[in-house]
Structure formats: C-alpha cells, structure tokens
Amino acid sequence: MQLLSLTVELIWSLPLIVLSVLVSQTLFKITQTARPTLGVMSGTGLGILYAVAISLFAGPMVTAVAIPLLPFMATVGALAGLLSNTENLRQAIKPPRVYVFLGGALFLWIGFFALRDNITSSNSYRVVVVKRNTLSESLQWDTSGGSINLSEVERKRVQEAIGSIDGGLLTPVLSLNSDEHPHRTVIIVMISDVSKPIHFTMPDSGVVIFIQDQDGTWREDRCGAQPGRNDLTLVPVSGSNVTRIQVAGPFGTQSSEVSISHK
C-alpha cells in the first residue's frame, strides 16, 4: 500500500522534474557558468509551487501520500535542478557547499514536521456537552460514573459559571475530541435541545464554558481565553429532539449529535 502511494507520488513528480531541469539548463545557458546554488534554489521553489498547485486541486487527498508532499516535491525539485548539469553536480559535492546543501535539506524536513505538529496541535479541541436537569434543586454532578471526564477545576468552573442560585443535576452526555491531547476545551451546558442554529467562537487555547439558561438564552464564561478562528455551531436536527454539535476549522468540519430533551 505504501509502495503504491510512493509510486503515485513519483509519477506526480515527473512534470516537476522536467520543469526543474529545463529551468536549470536555461539558467546555465544564460550565465554560461555552473550555478549549483541557483539550480537548487530554483528547483526548491518550483517544487513548493508545484505542491501548492496539487493541493489546490486535490484538497484533503494530499494527506494520503506516503511521504509528505511539500518537502518531497521541494527535495525532488532541488535534486532535479542540481543533477540537470554535470558541472553543477561536480561543484555541489565539494565541501563546504555540500554541507550547506545537506544542512538546508535537513532544515527543510525538520522545519516541515515541526510546523505540521504546531498547526495540528493548535487546531485540536475537545467539546464536552453537559446535560443540566433542572428538576434537581441543588446544583450537583451526576456521580453514576462514566468515562467522560472533566477535571475538578473544570467542574468547579462550570458550577461557578452557572451560579449558586440555580440548581440542577449535571451529567456529561457527550465528548467529542479531535486529538488524543486537545489544545483547547469547550464545555456546553444544555437544558434543552436548540430550536435554531447557535454560533459560538472556539477559544485559541484554554477552557471556555457556554451555558444555556432556562429561558433558552446563552451566556459564556471565557475566563481569559481569547477567541480563536474556529467556529462551533449548535444546529437543531429537523423533526427530532436532537442537536448537532458542529466544529468548523481549516481542516473541514467534524460533528456529532446529542439529544438533551430525550428522557
């Protein structure tokens, strides 16, 4: 499977190789001298542009390749630019230039994986829906157990945000995580299913609590968390007492459904 993905990736890189060789040879004809650095840099640039062009066409399918497409195409473009001319290659393998090229390649790959991890982490989230049964006079947590865990700090913050005047039995009913170690948490305390779409903004980091009051209005407790870019929407599912929790971000949408009014 990986071998097939790699083969597909190599087939995709063929136009880039041709283009990179042509550009490098043109540069050689213009300058009438070997320019290995110029060949590598033009090939790298072409590779990055080529990867961006493929991503605009293929969208999320670019994640299905065996080797990450961006550094792969940049490396292939650089190698094609370098190997297009024997004089370029001869000069490139001499120290210290060869060490500069190897260092640049290492920087490209390490930098790519670091940036990718950073983007993935900053977009990870956890959404917990807590059902609040207002028939209970005192505000307390359901102790019947379960694996939807909220920390003691989070539980205390929820209680403080609801206020001591209002009562209710609090039961976590849904947890939706986008990652094993989410970067931010949204806790939604609901009394009933929504009747119209409600839009919230996810935090950049930390914990934010959204609370539905008995009259159906919403309030939020951000406690210093700055609003982020991703949107959280509660959508009523027509014909049923069900609310769809939808998170939209740069990597598309994820959603789950919960029924609060269901006894």
């Binding site: 597909v8 991503s55 999320p60 497409l69 983007i119 849904l174 598309g252």
Partner: protein, 166 residues
C-alpha cells in the same frame, strides 16, 4: 451477527471549483451504520454495518466482539481503485467500546475520503449521527494548501447509548 443496510443518498458537498468537478464522479460519501439490539446493560446481540458507496462491495469489513469486556472492534480495510490519484478511498480504522453503564466510545481515524458519517441506532429506533468528518467543507478556498500540513484526522466520541441504570 452483522447486518448490512442499503445505501443512503449520496451527495457531493460544497465543492464549486471547476477543476475539481470531475472528482464528483468518485464516490464521495460513506456511511457506517451500527445497530445495537438488546439491552446494553446486559448484552449486545448485533452489530450492523451499512455503506453508502457505490463500489463499496470490495471493502473488507470485519467486526468482532469480546464477550468478556464488551469491546467491539470494527475495521474497514483500505482499497485502491484510482491509480493516478492518491487513493481517494476508504481508510478508516475504528474501535468501539461498549460499557455496562450504557456508555459507548468510538475511537478512530479516517483519511482518503471526502466525507465519512458514523450512524447508530438501538433496538430499531431512529438513526443517530455519532460522528461526521467532512474535510471538503472549508470556509475559504485559499486555505486549501493548509492540507499540505494536514494529519490523519483522529476522533474520539463518547456518549451514552442508553440511560444509565439508576
């Protein structure tokens, strides 16, 4: 043990860029439907699967349940049909854990498919959407190159399929 249901309607969501239009001929939606029959507090007697992909017959599906722990594992195997595209097919691995208190946890990751929806129902009730991943639904087209930094999406969904016994 396993039940297969008929395909749900296929739709291609919100991709308006003309160069991508031919991708619409690819299967674009995939449904996994799981039906639980019986009281989760005691025993689950059936796990069913359905799929909304035209050519999904070739997909390898396996489901097993450990009677001691109640853990059900569902795996859908990978498949390649389009050699010049990076396998725009199913690649989903999912583990389902059923607990005695009625809680159910889905853990998995999905790639290579425009949209995947996991549905469940219990004892012939209505279908409920447990999880949907739609990577094509993006607010701005210019953000598409961000996918060059994309990871295999992982999801963990936990909820109660039946109310806990008081």
């Amino acid at each position: 043990m396993a039940k297969f249901y008929s395909a749900l309607p296929i739709s291609f969501g919100g991709v308006e860029v003309s160069s991508r239009k031919h991708l619409a001929r690819l299967p674009d939606d995939f449904h996994i439907c799981l039906e639980f029959i019986g009281n989760v507090d005691t025993v689950v007697t059936c796990v069913g699967l359905c799929h909304g992909q035209a050519s999904a017959d070739q997909v390898g599906v396996s489901a097993s349940r450990n009677p001691a722990t109640g853990e059900v594992t569902v795996t859908l195997d990978d498949r390649v049909s389009y050699p010049l595209l990076p396998s725009p097919d199913i690649d989903i691995t999912m583990t389902i854990v059923l607990k005695q208190n009625g809680e159910i946890t889905y853990t998995g990751n999905t790639t290579r498919f425009p949209r995947i929806t996991v549905l469940e129902r219990s004892d012939g009730g209505s279908w409920r959407q447990v999880y949907q991943s739609n990577p094509w639904a993006r607010p701005f087209y210019y953000q598409t190159p961000l996918w060059l930094f994309g990871h295999t999406p992982t999801f963990v969904v936990t909820h109660r399929i039946v109310p806990a016994t008081p």
